[in-house]
């Protein structure tokens, strides 16, 4: 027989929400006569009537065979239904089974959301950088050196492409001697409480960076991309500028503060470290642009005092800009450097009325420096170095790789 029953009668369990007693109740549904209510007959003879439109089903329940129901206005009583037929009928009649409670107090939520964002922004953009600045100044030299050494080892390991051992340090004695000669010419010792230590890492990236404690790292790619030793000297001076201004130390301290706070906000969904990294990059970038400009200014001064043209910095940038393009807009913001054209201009204007007191390296020394990473990277035709002129293009085919860690690099990486 296929008739739809006029009345459903079954037993179910009922919790009235006043005590932990479980009552066995009679449930009646009359779709034809009274489709708008569910009749619940309690064991003591009394009855509870639930309007059908108010009945809600508990969501995400494990037991698919049964149905746990509540009435919208009554928060605590529950009906535990097991009868298949009644459940089916009820699903057909009750339209609001899956309706959810509307969000309470949206305004309060909104208020706290704003507070949270403002709080994090305040800490990360203002409080932490200010404190990092103060602390960087009073960190003792031994502490800075230790910080630098630790970071150096981390970076070498991170950059290694073979993934087996940390990146090789280029140590050809003649090349190192040439580097030392450049350093002696620049003579920054009076400005620092510790000695500058320079390393060249065997990697094709065209970049150089400074670490806390006077450690400066060049990449082989930058030495290869330079056309004459004055350009290397200019980069060297720029990095020394970062060390003198305590930029790397400030950066490390600031990162320590920000990463913790940003980690709070994003939680650990699926190891959200990528998002964290991006967020940190963004914060980092604004900060470092001032640092780069400051290091440039120092470099111009140091070069002039050493009798070398500050324009060397500009010519290198010019060449690299022709190769990589000027990073404006969002990319510039991310890439932690002022727009290249500004820096080129600044470099050239610093060189106005300047007279050189002789080249910083002899041609032989320059060749030694270029081969510092061993014979596997000998550059063709390393004859006399080409003098400083503003020119385009210089195809050295280097792949610059990605960004890593914090700012204080010389140039943007692709």
């Amino acid at each position: 027989m296929n008739t739809i029953p006029e009345q459903y009668d079954t037993f179910a369990d009922f919790a009235d929400g006043k005590s932990a007693r479980l009552a066995r109740v009679g449930v009646r549904l009359e779709p034809a006569v009274a489709p708008d209510r569910l009749h619940i007959g309690l064991p003591d003879g009394q009855a509870v009537v639930w309007p059908i439109e108010d009945i809600r089903q508990l969501p995400d329940q494990a037991d698919r065979a049964g149905l746990v129901l509540s009435a919208d206005d009554d928060q605590v009583s529950r009906l535990f239904l097991h009868d298949e037929a009644v459940i089916k009928a009820l699903r057909g009649l009750a339209q609001n089974l899956h309706q959810r409670k509307p969000v309470q107090n949206k305004f309060r939520l909104f208020k706290w959301a704003i507070a949270a964002v403002a709080s994090v922004a305040l800490i990360v953009m203002v409080l932490v950088p200010v404190m990092a600045d103060q602390l960087a100044r009073i960190l003792p030299p031994e502490g800075e050196k230790a910080l630098g050494d630790t970071t150096y080892e981390n970076i070498r390991t991170a950059l290694n492409e073979t993934g087996i051992a940390p990146l090789k340090v280029c140590e050809t004695p003649a090349g190192l001697a040439a580097m030392r000669k450049i350093l002696t010419r620049l003579n920054p010792d009076d400005d620092l409480p510790y000695k500058i230590q320079v390393d060249i890492l065997d990697h094709e990236m065209v970049n150089a960076f400074a670490l806390p404690g006077g450690r400066i790292v060049f990449f082989r790619g930058l030495i290869e991309a330079a056309e004459n030793p004055e350009e290397v000297a200019a980069v060297f001076a720029h990095e020394i500028g970062h060390v003198v201004n305590r930029d790397p130390t400030r950066d490390a301290l600031r990162a320590a503060g920000s990463i913790g706070v940003l980690g709070l906000l994003f939680g650990d969904f699926a190891g959200g470290t990528l998002i964290l990294f991006l967020a940190n990059s963004l914060v980092n970038a604004t900060y470092s642009q001032k640092a780069e400009a400051g290091a440039d200014v120092y470099a111009h001064g140091l070069m002039s005092n050493a009798g070398l043209s500050p324009a060397a910095l500009g010519t290198m940038f010019e060449r690299l800009r022709a190769k990589h393009g000027d990073a404006e807009g969002l990319v510039a913001h991310f890439a932690a450097h002022p727009a290249l054209s500004d820096r080129i201009e600044a470099s050239i204007s610093a060189a106005e009325g300047f007279e050189s007191t002789g080249p910083v390296l002899t041609p032989e020394e320059w060749r030694d420096l270029r081969n510092i990473c061993g014979t596997s990277h000998i550059i063709e035709g390393t004859g006399a170095p080409t003098p400083n002129t503003v020119r385009d293009g210089n195809g050295n085919g280097t792949k610059t790789g990605g960004q890593f860690g914090s700012g204080n690099k010389l140039l943007p990486a692709d």
Binding site: D63, Q104, V120, I123, A256, V261, L264
Partner: protein
């Protein structure tokens, strides 16, 4: 006198897995915002799977409430973490010349907070749990829990872990003695020494492993470490034995309003469930990776012809012919996909079966006393479990 109430378990693997995957995906797509909904929905499923006397437990937590609590915690914690981390890093390098001290100090600075957050999280979860319509609850007492935890941990560490049962008992007692079901306060009886026996296999396993290590190092006979093959599995099995039997002893001595508890959970059960569970997780992860690889190969074949797969296997492996953005997208999708899959597989193959082990062997004694237990008022909890959410600690579920 009514018979004891048995507990049914209604959880099933397929619906849980898909719930975890769906909610996990939404969490990713919303950059983590959906995680409050994900947790709530998963809890609803897990809670409703446990059915003492055939009536499911109920979780009534509200995701919006959780979100609000989280925002509240961020405001307070961002200051603490931002400033404290920075200062600790500074002192670490000033005095210790390395950053290990910074991490250690940072951890020490945050540790008390973790205990605080755990107590508050448990309080929130209990306050939003119901059975037979009656609310659970917990008294305030987070600071008391915090300092007690620190002290107990110190004692345990000083005793090289031997006094672990002592810490377990006293912290459990602190929590349980502040727990309510309806208007009745729960009570943890027994003495800490009753937890020594459940620890026996763990003591043996870890003890012998440590002894072997000591002898091997001082006599410089690394061959002795081969004995680890026996002692390490024993130690691990000892841990599951401890979990099962400490739960039993603690359950038997709990009571609320005259209702008691009994548990028949076995260490063996837990051990094989963990072993089997994690094996299945790894296998399914491998399966997933293979699927990704095959899809990748199929796409490649579709773009460049099937023969090229075999000819240019290296090229396919290094993906020089696909555009950079495609590689990046695949990489990111793969990375997040792995995490998502791992999480869902763990819930399905490990968490749920373990909960089932405990649930199915749980009995309520003297259930007649339940009729005397009345409702308690709702606990309006401003910050929900915000601190636990922000610090990423708190319940596994």
């Amino acid at each position: 006198m009514q018979q004891d109430l048995d507990t049914e378990y209604a959880g099933r693997k397929p619906p849980l897995f898909w719930l975890a995957v769906r909610t996990g995906l939404l969490t990713l797509l919303t950059l983590g915002l959906y995680r409050f909904w994900m947790k709530t929905r998963l809890r609803r499923y897990f809670w409703s799977a446990v059915k003492p006397g055939g009536i499911p437990m109920e979780y009534v937590g509200d995701p919006w409430e959780k979100l609000l609590g989280f925002l509240f915690a961020v405001v307070i914690l961002s200051f603490y973490i931002g400033v404290v981390n920075l200062i600790l890093m500074f002192f670490s390098f000033t005095f210790f010349q390395n950053n290990f001290a910074a991490y250690a100090l940072s951890f020490a600075g945050v540790l008390p907070l973790i205990f605080f957050a755990q107590y508050r999280a448990r309080r929130y979860v209990l306050a939003r749990t119901r059975w037979r319509g009656i609310r659970f609850g917990m008294e305030p007492g987070a600071w008391g829990y915090t300092w007690r935890s620190v002290v107990h941990w110190l004692i345990t560490i000083v005793s090289l872990g031997i006094l672990w049962p002592r810490m377990t008992f006293w912290l459990e007692k602190y929590r349980v003695d502040r727990t309510f079901y309806g208007d009745q306060k729960m009570h943890q009886g027994g003495r800490w020494t009753m937890l020594i026996a459940p620890m026996k296999h763990a003591y043996f396993g870890f003890g012998t492993s440590a002894a072997i290590l000591f002898v091997a190092i001082s006599n410089e006979t690394p061959a002795l470490l081969g004995l680890f093959v026996f002692t390490v599995p024993w130690a691990i099995a000892g841990l599951t034995y401890w979990r099962a039997h400490s739960f039993r002893r603690l359950a038997e001595t709990k009571e609320v309003g005259g209702v008691g508890f009994a548990s028949g959970v076995k260490g063996k059960q837990l051990f094989w469930t963990y072993l089997g569970g994690y094996t299945l997780v790894f296998l399914s992860l491998l399966g997933g990776l293979m699927l990704v690889f095959i899809t990748f190969a199929a796409v490649f074949a579709g773009m460049f012809g099937i023969a090229s797969i075999f000819e240019n296997f290296e090229i396919m492996a290094t993906s020089k012919q696909l555009p950079v953005w495609a590689i990046t997208m695949l990489g990111i999708a793969g990375y997040f996909g792995m995490f998502l899959f791992w999480g869902a597989a763990k819930y399905t193959f490990v968490t749920m079966p373990i909960v089932a082990c405990f649930a199915q062997t749980l009995r309520l004694t003297n259930p007649a006393a339940l009729t005397e237990i009345n409702q308690r008022a709702r606990d309006e909890f401003a910050e929900a479990e915000g601190f636990a959410d922000a610090l990423d600690v708190g319940a596994a579920l």
